[in-house]
């Protein structure tokens, strides 16, 4: 994600001056024109889809048609787990629909303590702090840890919530080329030795589904005296022997100072968190503004999250099936002649690279017509100005469904001319 980079050296992406009628919305004129031009081609609005009914983690009714879901980040398919649903219903009955308050005032219920206990157990770490969204977890932790004279060294393709956290804390921002260990090392060496340093990495980068060389990156970061934060939003529950993420998979979780994660992917609800072994971690509850100045998660949400996290600890079979699904879809799409974001499957995200936005939107609509939903991703969310059809697999996709998905890609790809 390169959104914040758009400010660097004021690149030439300003809308042309309109002679009159300028107001605060004028800065969006170029985007409005681009969207209008796209819709004028007759394509359905790819950013306006409504799920009329959701049947399961892998199926929904869209435009009156039963559709296979392949773009939901619902990696472990926990959204309809009977135990998870039951826990949520019970919490609604016993604790009501919402807390109407901040975690530091009236918004900490038994369920909030229980989900934090589940996280500590899941990661085998000393501290866990739950936020109302994953976005707020990154925003809050990064902005609070790194202030004005501190340095944040981050991958150029970092998620918007990471960039926004950097801006909110007013830290010195030092980006380095995506997944480039020597670029990171060089930049660390140029930062004043006495300055506070936070290196921000992601386990899986969500646009292309590629994994970071965390082992090497964390080693050079620690050698330079930096603290390390890893966002494992897209790996929790799936990657690593216990589903703790890419840092666990690469054997370096003990060297990570802060793991950021979300409940809105594998966990199957909404919320965000940070886990850490730092002895002073708990003070963040008083000084982290996105934690303090917002209402806490509803009781039903923390109850579903806690139940889901405890079940994910024992999700070995599901993890194995999800890997099989990823490998099969990756190999199948490659064989059909699609260009993919990674040469080998590295996560449960498979990004199909489209030649341009127009072809991408046409392919997206053709797939929806076949009964398949994927994410259409475009700049500035994507790296290198790419248009992507991003597929995220679910452990609940059956072998038969993966077969259907491949057939749909073949039909839509030939109809739109994306493949020959």
């Amino acid at each position: 994600m390169t959104e914040s980079v758009a400010n660097a050296m004021n690149p030439a992406d300003e809308a042309p001056l309109a002679p009159s009628g300028r107001d605060l919305f004028s800065k969006f004129d170029a985007l409005i024109a681009e969207r209008d031009a796209l819709l004028a081609t007759g394509v359905r609005n790819p950013f306006g889809l409504v799920m009329e009914k959701v049947l399961s983690p892998t199926r929904a009714i869209c435009n009156g048609k039963e559709t296979i879901l392949l773009g939901t980040y619902n990696y472990m398919g926990m959204t309809f787990d009977p135990d998870v649903i039951a826990a949520g219903k019970q919490a609604l009955d016993e604790f009501g629909s919402g807390t109407t308050g901040s975690r530091v005032l009236n918004g900490t219920y038994q369920g909030h303590k229980e989900v934090e206990a589940a996280l500590r157990e899941f990661y085998a770490m000393d501290h866990a702090m739950v936020f109302s969204t994953g976005y707020q977890a990154n925003l809050g932790v990064i902005a609070t840890l790194a202030g004005k004279d501190d340095y944040i060294i981050l991958d150029i393709d970092s998620h918007a919530s990471i960039y926004d956290g950097c801006a909110m804390g007013d830290a010195q921002i030092v980006p380095f080329r995506h997944n480039d260990v020597s670029a990171l090392e060089k930049r660390l060496a140029r930062i004043p030795a006495e300055a506070g340093k936070l290196v921000v990495l992601e386990g899986v980068y969500s646009m292309l589904g590629d994994v970071a060389p965390l082992k090497e990156m964390i080693a050079v970061s620690k050698a330079a005296g930096a603290m390390v934060l890893v966002d494992e939003a897209h790996s929790m529950g799936f990657i690593g022997p216990n589903g703790r993420g890419v840092a666990e998979e690469q054997g370096v979780l003990d060297d990570v100072d802060f793991v950021i994660g979300t409940f809105s992917k594998s966990v199957g609800t909404v919320g965000g968190f940070c886990v850490s072994n730092h002895p002073k971690f708990e003070i963040l509850r008083l000084v982290c503004r996105p934690y303090v100045f917002t209402a806490s998660l509803p009781p039903s949400v923390v109850a579903t999250a806690a139940t889901s996290i405890r079940k994910l600890m024992h999700g070995h079979d599901k993890r194995a099936h999800l890997w099989e699904n990823s490998k099969r879809l990756h190999a199948g799409l490659k064989a059909l002649g699609f260009r993919l974001g990674t040469d080998e499957p590295q996560s449960a995200i498979i990004a199909v690279i489209m030649p341009d936005l127009e072809k991408g939107a046409a392919m997206w609509e053709a797939l929806l017509g076949e009964g398949l939903y994927v994410n259409l991703a475009r700049p500035p969310a994507t790296p290198a100005g790419m248009t992507l059809l991003r597929c995220s697999l679910c452990a609940e996709h059956s072998d038969a469904e993966v077969g259907e998905i491949l057939t749909m890609f073949e039909t839509a790809g030939r109809a739109t001319g994306v493949i020959g």
Partner: protein, 82 residues
């Protein structure tokens, strides 16, 4: 030739591979308006300047730099500080 002139020349050499329209470079040449660079080109170019002079140009500093002259000034300042 002053140190600043030398820096200007070095910066101009680094701009060349990204100067696809062959814009003539002056102190006032702007990266966005004249060279029409997008954020991706800016990232690659900044990395090349950082490596050439062994300096760090944070994104905070980049936001303040619009022209070649301003970049040369920033490089000069960073070199003497470092």
């Amino acid at each position: 030739m002053t140190d600043r002139d030398e820096t200007f020349d070095k910066v101009a050499k680094l701009i060349a591979p990204f100067n696809q329209k062959g814009v003539a470079l002056t102190e006032a040449t702007s990266f966005a308006g004249d060279l029409e660079w997008d954020s991706l080109v800016v990232m690659d170019f900044v990395a090349s300047v950082e490596d050439e002079f062994d300096i760090l140009i944070t994104m905070n500093m980049q936001a303040e730099i619009e022209t070649v002259g301003q970049l040369v000034d920033a490089v000069e300042t960073l070199r003497t500080e470092g």
